[in-house]
């Protein structure tokens, strides 16, 4: 009497898939040889990574002087990249945790790749606090470990100490959340594996998962708990990253609007990066049926929301500066808009304010090429937002005698390219060797959850 319920809602997975075809589609990608497009993407990413590694090792050997910094502008590309990559990381956890708590079923086909993107982005981000140090070989002093110096611990009042804990917790929790979610799929891959090595590797990786429902029952509880923990973590990590600026005394940084402004900016640039990646991945890996236009559309709607919040934040900053009557704050914002770095400021405002407005039109929302291009513009805008916040507030703050211009050095640009290289290399490897889509969860949202396919 297995009747299937015809839902009035549009099916989440097109092309009347059934359980078997889903497994074949997703695991099939891992068996086939990668397409030419994949190899091209991989080599570009790898060469960028190599350039980055050369630049970073040269900088660590020679000194921070190889960057374009000076005594007034102590941070520029390094912390811009850090905040940029941490920001991108947050979309993944948002999709997998917060949308899970909101029971948004459409997240199932994109949450695995989004979480992977999170971990790779946070790894890129985690690299910068270490290499931006003058003496990275003493970086272990950032941890409060018992030592023979009295013991001399750590300054817990410093936002950088908070950053260390925040980024590490975020990396650990989202990695655990991603891996736990993947264990059932690894088991599926293990059972389908043909070659002995794959069987051994995935056998080891899948922790002996046998699909027992008693395990599933506890697994679902833990998955819910982890989602519950990861959700506030998203908001708290980027709040703490924004504290790096909010708790300082520099005009243009010292505003209480920073935490919500940064979190919205993070989700905004995170979703843009997810869009950029998935539009390529769905084309390259032929997953159009799983990552449907509906998914892309939903994500663009989130971008409209968060884009709006970011624009509101720009306006609030200007209003607060005017309203506060504090001459230094007013100067910083006038200097941002009309000073020497005005070009960066207008790129930022242009990208972050105008691009989301295009998504109001359904035609644009569903046109993959347009969405791809706009998502890139958003990330350019968001990179410049962090650059403008950091450099313009530093290069002209209180005493005019220390006003200075900043120009990036080649090593700094190479490090930025290197960080993109690292991100895309890891993502390419993930696409190639891991199940891109969470098989278990997609199966659980099929219209007809059985073997014989949709129309019985």
């Amino acid at each position: 009497m297995a009747d299937h319920v015809k839902s009035i809602r549009e099916p989440l997975v097109h092309g009347n898939k059934n359980l078997k075809t889903i497994t074949d589609d997703v695991v099939g990608i891992m068996d086939k040889k990668p397409t030419g497009l994949w190899w091209v993407g991989f080599f570009i990413a790898l060469s960028a990574l190599a350039l980055g590694i050369v630049a970073v090792s040269y900088q660590i050997m020679t000194g921070i002087g190889t960057w374009g910094l000076n005594k007034t502008v102590g941070w520029a590309f390094d912390i811009t990249n850090f905040v940029f990559w941490v920001g991108i990381g947050h979309a993944g956890t948002l999709i997998s945790a917060i949308l899970f708590l909101f029971r948004q079923k459409w997240r199932t086909s994109i949450n695995r790749s989004a979480e992977a993107m999170t971990i790779f982005a946070v790894m890129c981000a985690g690299m910068f606090p270490i290499i931006h140090m003058g003496r990275p070989w003493m970086a272990y002093w950032m941890f409060p470990y018992p030592n023979t110096r009295g013991p001399l611990w750590v300054n817990f009042r410093s936002p950088l100490a908070w950053d260390v804990f925040a980024i590490l917790t975020y990396l650990i929790i989202s990695a655990v959340f991603w891996y736990i979610g993947m264990i059932p799929d690894l088991a599926t891959v293990r059972d389908r594996a043909k070659t002995r090595i794959k069987k051994a590797v995935f056998g080891f990786l899948s922790f002996g998962w046998s699909g027992s429902f008693k395990t599933w029952h506890r697994y679902e509880t833990v998955y819910g708990l982890l989602a519950g923990l990861a959700a506030p973590l998203v908001v708290s990590v980027h709040t703490i990253v924004s504290f790096d600026f909010a708790t300082s005394a520099i005009p243009g940084w010292h505003t209480t609007t920073f935490p919500p402004y940064f979190v919205a900016g993070a989700v905004f640039s995170g979703f843009a990066m997810v869009l950029t990646l998935l539009i390529i991945a769905r084309k390259a890996m032929r997953l159009e049926e799983y990552i449907t236009v509906k998914h892309i559309e939903n994500m663009t709607k989130v971008i409209i929301l968060t884009g709006g919040i970011v624009t509101l934040s720009y306006a609030t900053e200007f209003f607060m500066a005017w309203y506060s009557g504090n001459g230094y704050e007013q100067f910083v914002f006038l200097n941002r808009a009309m000073g020497p770095f005005a070009w960066a400021y207008w790129i930022m405002v242009g990208c972050n304010l105008i691009t989301p407005q295009f998504f109001w039109f359904k035609k644009i929302r569903t046109n993959m090429l347009m969405v791809f291009i706009l998502s890139i513009f958003i990330n350019i805008g968001m990179w410049f937002e962090r650059f403008v916040i950091i450099v313009t507030s530093l290069h002209r703050d209180f005493l005019p005698s220390s006003w200075v211009m900043y120009k990036p050095s080649y090593v700094e640009i190479a490090t930025l390219i290197g960080s993109f290289g690292l991100f895309f290399t890891l993502f390419m490897l993930f696409i190639r060797f891991m199940p891109i889509i969470s098989i278990g969860e997609v199966k659980s949202v099929l219209q007809y959850k059985g073997r014989s396919g949709g129309q019985k």
Binding site: R135, P159, P400
Partner: protein, 984 residues
Amino acid sequence: MHKEKKYRMNQMTEATTDSVVGPADLETTTTEWNRRDFLKTAGFSLAAFMTACSKTPVNKAIPFLIQPEEVIPGKAYWYASTSHACGSGCGVLVKNRDSRPIKLEGNPDHPASQGGLCPICQASVIELYDSKRIYNPQVFRKGSTWAALDSFVLKNLNKTRKQGKQIVLLTETITSPSIKFYIKKFLKKYSNASHVEYDPISYSAILDAHEVNYGTRFLPQYDFEKADMILSLDADFLGTWLSPTQFTKDYRKNRNLDSKHISKHIHVESRLSITGAKADKRIVKSPAEILQLVKDIESALQKNGEHGIATNIAKELKHYKGKSLVISGINDIGIQILVNRINKFLGNIGKTVLHKNPSFQKSGSDNAVSQLLTDMKLGKVGALLISDVNPVYDLPEGESFGELMKTISTTLLFTTKKNETAELCNVICPLPHYLESWSDDEFISGLLSMTQPTIRGLGDTRTFRKSLGDWIGYEDDERILIRNYWKKIYSTRKKGNLSFNQWWDNLVHDGFVNIKEKSLSIGRYKQGSVPKSNFNNGMTLIAYPSLQMLDGRHAENPWLQELPDPISKLTWDNAANLSPKKAKELGLNQGDVVKISSNGNSVEMPVYIQDGQSDKVVAVSLGYGRKGTERFKNLGPDWIQKKVTLDEGELVGERVNHLLERNDNTLTFSGISVNITKTGKTADLALTQTYNTLKNPENTAPPSMKVRPFIQETTFGEYKKDPSSGAHHGHQVVTLWKDDHPYEKHHWGMAIDLGACTGCSACVISCQVENNVPVVGKDEVFRRRDMAWMRIDRYYSGDGEDVDVAFQPMMCQHCDNSPCEPVCPVLATVHSSEGLNQQVYNRCVGTRFCANNCPYKVRRFNWFDYAHNDELENMVLNPDITVRSRGVMEKCSMCIQRIQEAKIEAKAKGIPLADGDIKLACQQSCPADAITFGDLNDKESDISKLVEDPRHYHVLEELNARPTVGYLTMVRNREEEKGGNHHG
């Protein structure tokens, strides 16, 4: 009456020439694997962590062989000596650590320095350890011994006498009575010899004018303390003119705000100098206009004719008869004669212009030099002995002088360093640095200053006096030559009735002694006629001695090359300063390279737009383009984007001396007509400050704050009415926090009087010497990564010619609620229980958040490992302070090493620390006593009184960082009703 012995006296009797410590054999014994590399790799590789008993680096401890008494390793002791860095003869105390001098401080009792020193003197200590000095005599550019050199010289001198040619001794002003005596003996021995004196920065016009007016050629002494009214015509007496440290000390004595009136200082100049910056009233005039002004003032004093500004200056001068002082730094006889007449008319002679005990600091004569040039052209000169001057560089006719030298058979140069003249001489006698030689000097008549060696001579050098002594036939050594001379004339010159030996020991111990003035026959005053001066009215050139380079003798000094010019903030270069209007007129902007040419000679240099400069003048600083500065070619860290600032064969800056003119026997440094042409090339100027005013830029100025309130300024009149005038607004300190940190023992504080600070930057160099601050090179300064812990911010207000200048020395403010401490993640910067912000170099990992968060931007970061591989130059490092490696933050530590040393000393003696026991390096060296340091918990200390002073304020008080460094409002003696506080 033997005083309590404070300073050590050099016991060495004879200059030990046998075992000489050359630079080569100064190897140190660190093993190849020193501790810092070990820790660095340990941090990097965990392997060291695993090895149970890693090979410990073996360090040696090597004691003395024979223990010299009173020398305890690690304990500093002091010598009293005299500085020969710039020829104004300040008395110095030389701090000696482990038998090497590392720091100079002014001798508080010495009348010339009165405790202060100028930046040039502070920086001259590194030139002692210059591995590129000449360390042994050279004949025909081959190293040889003194004996061979002496025989060669004597042989040639006799040969020249036989040929009937002249022997010329060309020297700078000789201030040592013993050298004058031995020169007289030398001239007696060689009848055809003559002695010519000249000063690279010539003052001969003053001496010649006094010859016209008083019959004898002398330079009077100027007493700024008694001068209630000072009219200075382009004489930078607070910066580079004659004896700036002494003048600054005296100038400040007469500006005590508590007395009923303070001195009034009117300054007339064509370029902006630091004296002009401090003047109460500053008038900008080109040299020709200054000549006209002096004429008008002189005639206005005689009450004939109405001459506008000249008449009210004359009126004021008459008001201060007998208590005023008129001086001029322009090397033109006409102007100097007019100045003499005005001083005579006002009755200042004997009051502020002292003729009875004149100054012997400058007695060079341009006339004698032009005479020498004609003789050399006629080939009359057979032997040329040059001592410690560089004529090929200094004189306008430098090239031709060089050619003529080639025609002379024996040319001999006494010098410490290779320079332009040394290349053309066939005999070079290396001179010792003044810190390793004996000398007696009478810079001011009646004051004998002693110079004694503070280290055993590096290299095989010999002084000019010893060489003369050997050639005349005296066999004994340096010290005996001086001692015997003074023993002979002791009876005629002694004051008081000490035995000679006792007198001599006091002299060597104290560094100076007052002796009877030599009577100078000064004739009756004659009006004298004013010769026609040839300043022309078009575009003229002014070549001025810059505060760091003076006449270029210290061009090889890295500290001075990197010291930013107090006005233009330019380092490692000299530039053609043009006024903004003139530059716009010629279509030039900053950094364009222009060609300045005048009658055939030309020079190419970048333009610097200088506010407050006359439109008819282009000002260029002397002392640059000196051979020997090519050593700085690859100074500074090496990395891919490093811009090599000196190409092959290029020198630091451009030589300008060949543009000077010599008309009717005086060397004119200003008023030379030039024309300026664009060359289309551009050059980077390494400036340490590129935004020069407290006004916000036009397009981004917020309505609520047009001008930033960091400088408070008022006039003396308003100050008398309301002492807190000029203050911006009271700031009431509000805090939510419980005060967990009361300062029970000490609470160190500092106050800087903006009215006193002249911007001379002696504090910047003194701080650099004391705290081992590295030199980074032109490219790094251009990238704004200079390392000096102190910077002097110079803010203009007003624009064009009528500009007010304010100097604000800015260093770490040691805030109580410091923004930098809470943001450091590894506790590398924390607050001490005595109110100081501590920067722990070995704990810092270099995140640089503290530097970003500091509102005053006073923190410096070690971007690279700055090279310390010159073994000899490392001798100047202060052993009490760690030399920072790369990746570490550093900043003003308020000379914590001096505070600790004084506390340890007081605790050892069991007496409490008194106010004034601790003097910071900057405070000690300041000629204007602008910096006060002390314990805020001690209510009787100077600093506590200053904190209560209504003039006292903090910069950025509204941030509630609660800095402990306070500033005092600048008070100018000026009547303008708007209080002159453009600074708003």
